[in-house]
């Protein structure tokens, strides 16, 4: 069995890569297009990195791996807990086959970094570098290189100039770390993820779409660096090493934000005490449903939450009501929600009982978010211009023909496909 590498481009839509490859901004990718297959890929639902990368690293449905978003409540409370790799109920690939040696750099949703045969440096969100690195002996070297898991958000949001500076520095260091590790260690599987792409697109998606945008040139320049980085990583590989390039979700322009909790309040399903400081602890008895980011709706079940108010016998009726209201919900005559999923339509596995009751997929331009304690249902976005999409992540496989890749692949297909590639049997049929 040979070696294999996956390069991740967080949040990069299939269409953007195709576009920039053909416009000469990403010449390395242009060459790759001739050597393999590029297809759009379905992300997880909801399309957030914690969920989609968890699906990628386990090859499993959220109903199996148990991660439905960046946030959950601590059991039996309304206290918002933030994602941890400990939430993962399914084994990631490096645990499943510990006989292989892994170099995994900047893979999101792996913090805190657990034990691995090789090296694991977690991607965002990683509050402490110390716990983002396995083995810990690497820490000193990373600190000397000023390795950062993520761009410094304060600096980045204070000025686009600083954002681009942060992005360039972070990428450069990340590639350098990868080069050192790959040259130093004997490895079987390399995973290298670039996450600055997602950060840039969130802040300045409009700079990509609009050629007259003040930062259009810099936007393209960053993707030139990304392309160079891809080239450098590929140069570290042998020719017969398997190679996949993937993203975890796509991106599109935010037209308007939709605050789901505000909406549920307006419809009378959510009742809050007037104290934003208490966050979800402000949920009052009588609340039937609430939303967690980005588009998950939960029934406030009796027995599950401190002030649970939905009896089992009422669940079906409530879900029916909500589905109908959400499907008919409009903004300036346009439908807001493309699809309301019941959890059983999306998820299957032992962890389904923790899944949201409803998950919403919006129409283009609508940025769904929990939006607790917001004044209005619809709010213009100030500060960000890009939002995730579910349908146009990217999947590239080197050295195969088109039929080796499923027609409408999903992020859950990445791991099985990669394993087949490593085994030299790219096609499921072969």
């Amino acid at each position: 069995m040979g070696r294999g590498a996956i390069i991740g481009l967080d949040g990069v839509p299939h269409g953007l890569v195709e576009d920039l490859a053909h416009r000469g901004v990403m010449p390395n990718f242009r060459e790759l297009l001739d050597e393999g297959v590029l297809k759009p890929m379905r992300s997880s639902i909801p399309a957030v990195s914690a969920v989609s990368w968890s699906s990628m690293m386990t090859g499993a449905n959220p109903g199996v791996h148990g991660v439905y978003g960046y946030t959950e409540f601590l059991p039996g409370t309304y206290v918002v807990a933030y994602h941890s790799s400990r939430w993962l109920k399914a084994q990631p690939f490096w645990r499943r086959d510990p006989s292989k040696r892994y170099v995994i750099i900047n893979l999101p949703a792996t913090y805190p970094a657990g034990e691995v045969n090789g090296v694991l440096i977690s991607g965002f969100v990683a509050p402490d570098l110390e716990r983002a690195v396995y083995p810990r002996q690497l820490l000193e070297e990373l600190r000397e290189l000023n390795y950062k898991v993520d761009v410094d958000y304060v600096r980045a949001s204070s000025s686009p100039l600083l954002l681009f500076k942060e992005l360039a520095e972070t990428l450069k260091t990340r590639v350098e770390v990868c080069r050192r590790l790959v040259e130093r260690l004997k490895w079987d599987v390399l995973v290298f993820v670039i996450t600055g792409t997602d950060r840039l697109e969130h802040f300045l998606w409009d700079a990509y779409r609009d050629e007259r945008h003040e930062w259009h040139g810099e936007f393209l320049e960053y993707f030139r660096h990304v392309d160079e980085a891809i080239g450098e990583i590929i140069n570290l590989l042998e020719e017969d090493d398997a190679l996949m390039i993937i993203s975890d979700h796509g991106m599109e322009h935010i037209e308007v934000n939709v605050n789901l909790n505000r909406l549920l309040e307006d419809w009378g399903y959510l009742k809050l005490e007037n104290d934003p400081k208490r966050s979800y602890n402000a949920i009052r008895r009588g609340t039937k449903a609430f939303a967690l980011d980005p588009s998950r709706i939960y029934l406030n079940r009796v027995g599950r939450y401190p002030r649970g108010s939905v009896e089992k016998s009422d669940e079906e009726k409530l879900l029916g009501e909500l589905t109908e209201l959400l499907q008919d919900f409009k903004w300036r005559g346009r439908r807001v929600i493309k699809r309301v999923y019941r959890r059983e339509e999306l998820y299957h596995g032992d962890a389904v009982d923790k899944a949201p009751d409803l998950v919403l997929v919006p129409e283009e331009g609508f940025n769904l978010r929990a939006g607790l304690f917001r004044g209005e249902v619809f709010e213009r976005e100030e500060g960000l211009s890009g939002k995730h999409t579910e349908w146009d992540a990217l999947l590239y496989v080197r050295g195969v023909e088109g039929d080796a890749v499923p027609d409408s692949p999903s992020i859950e297909d990445v791991l099985p496909l990669f394993q087949r590639l490593m085994e030299g049997e790219p096609s499921e049929a072969s």
């Binding site: 206290v79 993520d150 958000y153 980011d293």
Partner: protein, 532 residues
Amino acid sequence: MKLHNAHKTCWNCPAAILKGNVDFRACGQSLEAIRQRIEREGLLIECARLPDLGHFEPTITFEECPEWRPTKYGYLLENMRVMILGIDGYLGWTLALKLGALGCEVSGVDCFLRRKMVRELGADSVVPIYPMEERLKAAKEVLDIDIKFRKINILDREKLGQFMREVQPEAIVHYGEIPSAPYSMIDCDHAIQVQYNNVIGTLGLLFLMKEICPEASLIKLGTLGEYGAPLTGRPLFEGLFPADAILRWRGREWSLGGELTPRDPVSFYHVSKVQDTFNIYEACKYWWLRSYDVMQGVIYGVHTDEVAADPRLRTRLDVDEWFGTVVNRFVAQAILGMPLTVYGEGEQIRGFIALEDAMECMVRLISSPPEPGQYDVVNQVSGLYKVSELAETVARVAAEFGYDVKIQRVENPRVEADYHPFEVVSTKLPNELGFTPKVPLEVEIRRMFELLTQPHIVERIKKVAHLIRPRTWWSGEKRVVETLEVYRPGTRRRRGFKPKLITDRERFPTSKMEEVERAVEALGEGGDGDKG
């Protein structure tokens, strides 16, 4: 009715380590430099005590959290690590025992400077106090309290830092200052010593806290004397102006809300406390430290249940002109048969609090930490009295013990107004921290007579008798003050201004607070019941 701090959350808890804030809009961008942007939504912490909870929003209330246990003084963090600087002192030792009895993990430092200073002036504590080693042993034997002590001068930042790293305090009570106005007025050397020890000691501490335990709250002893006694009659607000305080000038108006109120210190010692106030205020602003600056009234008394439990556990009591506070001096003078020395007209009004009440306030403050970055001030006072009134009260109680006491007016060696209005605002302790004064003036004075009239203590008082009458003049002069008038208690007509203490307690009736305390006490001694 809930305990006063039931609603406080992880946001106030020293076990909550800030990990940044998360922008949920953009797939969880993490913000390391949270201190630059205060946004409640998306704030992320980790619990040092319950690390298995991972990262979460700081919204668990003290009432809900298993680490906070109900006591009669409010919820208290279980085994809370409290470090007392100046643990050998009058207040430090008393508080150490009280906290230990409540289940806190008490640590403390002292370099015995107070013992040394008092002895150098030829005086001594009239209540015998034991060497620290004996004190610690007795605390263990009698009260089953382990206190971690280290002999450290707080000016030695390296050693103090080492100890702080070792202990990782969750609250620091700073009593490690030289607490005497007359001492600071003896001469240039003493003024410099007081200011250097107090100001530089505190400044160094702030830097250490920033580095070692930024989540710990600093409960710093200031003094009501920082404010002075404004002759305009302006109330002494609690450190900061309330929102509805208005400055009017040439027909225009501004709100003063949130600004520090003026300070008008009345000695070089008081100046050191004011400088501390500003240093702490800035540190909270720059580094998100959190602090209560306690503007304590003049303290008096000898009693808490813990210090009274064994003679080896007694706290010191000074009656000399430098370190003896006024009530303590009066009681000693009464026992000696000396007329009580009132400076000047005796119409000066000051705020006071009994030792036991002050200790309760401190526990309540420790149990209710401010928010990160919050600098808060409490006026810790339970009554306002004129000096001549205090003399009358001491004389009255002395009579119960068979002492026939006179009062003498002496020259006032200080620079202070004889007649002045005095209005003190003290609303936070009674209303936000659930404190009700428990010890009336007469009750504590009685306790003092009971203790100080014991023969071995009377002997000790006699030895320092010559040091009670002041000789330290603010002018720099060095001579014992002359008597202006001697009179019998109850014969002098009161003049001047009436003090006014604003507590707003009528808005928050104490009966309810007491109801809560009774309920908690029913949980058991120390109130360490389980919340279930």
